[in-house]
Symmetry: C2
Subunit: 453 residues, 2 copies
């Protein structure tokens, strides 16, 4: 599908104002593509095209828009039209949208919904952000025990078209407690007079409304689920989360980890849509903390002032090697920490593995340290004006730096996890500062010993 060509044709139709043809053309497109197309139109044209869409399509298109676009649409609509739109949306999409609006506007919007939907939306809005409750949907099929296969099929035929998934059916007792699930394919194969509970699978994997969305994502990933039921504290079914929403959660959590590991406060916003003040605000705290903590590395250098200034030549030679030593240490540390942080995020590594991990990293460090120190020795000897003694001091310092860097890099995230801190947040930016301090101390200590200063 060539989106650019489609766009050009739609542009022509929009400009000409031929609404019937435009409606026909839009009919050929996926809701996601329509939302993408609308993004570049001005307010007036966007609303004109949006109003041409069939009711159910427009609600879907609306749910694929970003907040900017949604606000533009809502501002251009009158209240009745806006309320009707919200009424047509799936409850999770509606809640997702309403969460971003000021409370006053939400209240006004909800007046247009029917009583039942309003109550539900209000209930959803009370779940903590990023909890299972806040991302679940209530458009699923549920049956009480005692329902026959025939009755269930009739019900699915009657209401199934409005559900997000009919693949899995949920079986409840009289108190709404979740007893089990039945796959639709099993229902299709069963005789009409059998009871649903005879077909049900009782090993149900579920989450609680207050569980973090990361827990939901981990569970869905672990068990390869297409949807997962969400229960309240009394194990009564209140919603489900489908895997397509989990895909978004996973990408969100990954983006957060990337941001934390690059010393930023995590943010949900798209880069191009975030203003520069917000970007600066998210980046400043860690930069400040790390800069100020670098006072410490400065103190180490000042402490070894005699090494740098007394022996002619040696000081400059050592200084010239500091960036390389620090970068190699930093890279070694972040290699180890990245693998451990990632392993923790995917549930492949636990805190109890700490000795196993440390032993692995020390052996890797010994190998890498030997190779890099040797190459570095030859590099300094042959390609710089400095002599063998300098080469020896720097290479030995490098060897120990790598071992220290790998050890810090692999243990810090595990320790952070053990005291319930975020491994990505606590460990990654701090490792560089710690490794810097270690590498400088090692370098100057060895230099002092070798050159008898």
């Amino acid at each position: 599908m060539d989106f650019e060509r489609i766009k050009t044709r739609l542009d022509a139709l929009v400009a000409s104002g031929r609404k019937a043809e435009l409606r026909g053309a839009l009919n050929m497109l996926n809701e996601v593509d329509i939302a993408e197309y609308l993004e570049d139109l001005d307010n007036e044209k966007m609303l004109m095209v949006f109003r041409l869409l069939p009711k159910d399509v427009s609600a879907d298109v609306f749910s694929y828009m970003d907040n900017d676009q949604r606000t533009r649409i809502m501002e251009a609509m009158d209240d009745t039209e806006a309320m009707r739109l919200i009424d047509d949306m799936f409850i999770d999409d509606a809640v997702d949208f309403l969460e971003e609006l000021p409370a006053g506007v939400v209240k006004r919007m909800l007046q247009g919904c029917n009583e039942q939907k309003r109550q539900l939306i209000n209930q959803f809005l009370r779940y903590p952000e990023n909890s299972a409750g806040s991302i679940m949907t209530i458009e699923y099929m549920e049956f009480n025990i005692g329902t026959t296969v025939g009755q269930a099929m009739a019900e699915i035929r009657r209401t199934g078209v409005d559900k997000e998934t009919i693949n899995t059916l949920y079986i409840l007792d009289a108190g709404r407690k979740l007893l089990g699930t039945v796959g639709l394919r099993k229902l299709l194969l069963a005789a009409d007079d059998r009871k649903v509970e005879e077909l049900m699978n009782t090993q149900v994997i579920f989450v609680h409304t207050t569980d973090d969305q990361e827990v939901v994502a981990d569970t869905v990933r672990k068990y390869d689920l297409l949807s997962i039921p969400v229960v309240d504290h009394e194990e009564r079914l209140v919603g489900i989360v489908t895997v397509d929403d989990i895909v978004d959660v996973i990408e969100e959590e990954n983006t957060e980890d990337f941001e934390k590991m690059a010393a930023m406060l995590p943010s949900d916003d798209e880069y191009l849509k975030t203003n520069v003040f917000t970007l600066a605000k998210n980046r400043l705290p860690w930069l400040l903390i790390l800069m100020i903590s670098a006072t410490f590395t400065g103190m180490i250098i000042t402490h070894f002032e005699n090494v740098l200034s007394t022996a002619a030549g040696i000081g400059v030679a050592l200084t010239a090697c500091i960036p390389m030593l620090m970068d190699t240490g930093g890279n070694c540390g972040s290699q180890a920490s990245t693998l451990v942080i990632r392993g923790l995020a995917l549930g492949e590594i636990q805190f109890r593995d700490i000795l196993k991990v440390l032993w692995k990293e020390v052996r890797v460090a010994l190998m890498l340290g030997a190779v890099l120190a040797l190459v570095n020795f030859l590099r300094i000897w042959f390609f710089t004006p400095y002599d063998k003694d300098i080469a020896f001091v720097v290479s030995l310092a490098m060897f120990f730096t790598i071992i220290i860097a790998k050890s810090i890099g692999c243990t810090l995230p595990l320790l952070a996890k053990a005291i319930h801190l975020d491994p990505a947040l606590m460990a990654s930016p701090l490792i560089t500062t710690m490794v810097d301090a270690a590498s400088l101390t090692v370098l100057f200590s060895i230099a002092t010993a070798v050159f008898h200063m």
Copy 2:
């Protein structure tokens, strides 16, 4: 579900050898949990438990095991048993497993499969690794045009239980070309004598067998799909990919990006299961390249030797600030590059946005530079033995370093993308070296000018 308690009970049953009870207990568990439980058993016990599982359950459990475990199971089984196991697996799981085995073993294993399955597996094994073809499954429901709803329902009742999904049905012409899809819920609601093509949705989003799995994942994520059809070069349907497999692809791709950004060769293996030689091998190349390229930063320092050695006190003061300056520059650069690399991966940023991105980063850099330079000036003035001049030189150098770091950090990944290199691979580790060189040059140039050296 308390996995540890379950484990203890199973351990007791395994030790006592009470097979009937054990079978009953296993029956209560999810396949994923059984695979996890088996991991810690010795070969003999593992095989004993594995053989107690019902045939279809054992094939599922096997597909949730890692390669180590699978190899252990296969080695303990005789050929007939192994072949039967492969025959019971879904084709994508079987291919996934066979890909990791030596060609000779694969050939022997396939002799036990029926002719049709053997041909299919062979065809699948020919798709390039990580292509749509290599991750697709063929367990889907397809109908030719002309099929009635009643016929389709009968067919689903007959064979649907063996399919990975019956949510979406695929409609083909006589030449197997994919014409459209029908949702099962739509079929359930339609009259028995209607033709499937009257119900079908013709805006089908699909991928080609040779498309990279990343393309598949991006498409599924963009359009919130539960499954996506895979077609050959003549648009004939050959398979589908379901979203639960996409979740694994997304995590794999994210892990690769994390690894590349931490200067490692990407690897598919779990950390704890990778031996130290492989770990060292993956980490060595970039460490070597970056260490050797640091020769360049060393040269810059040697070049400004006079600044470091002539003016007493100033040299040590500047040296003491190098780590802080380099780290701040490196952090600023990786903040910018991380957001851009992530934006590229999620399709939120394109190469054509380069000027927009650069303008954003320059403004962010001006703000951050001003704040950090000011704080740094006060820090050096009040908390170190160095005087105002040093504080001024270092802070001014910091201001320019931040602007350069942000500019390099945001443009390099975009340039890499433009020439079809991997932004994460090419940009991230190189940025540090470039920013190091820039920050040192700026620091010494300003120092030379201010102190008239």
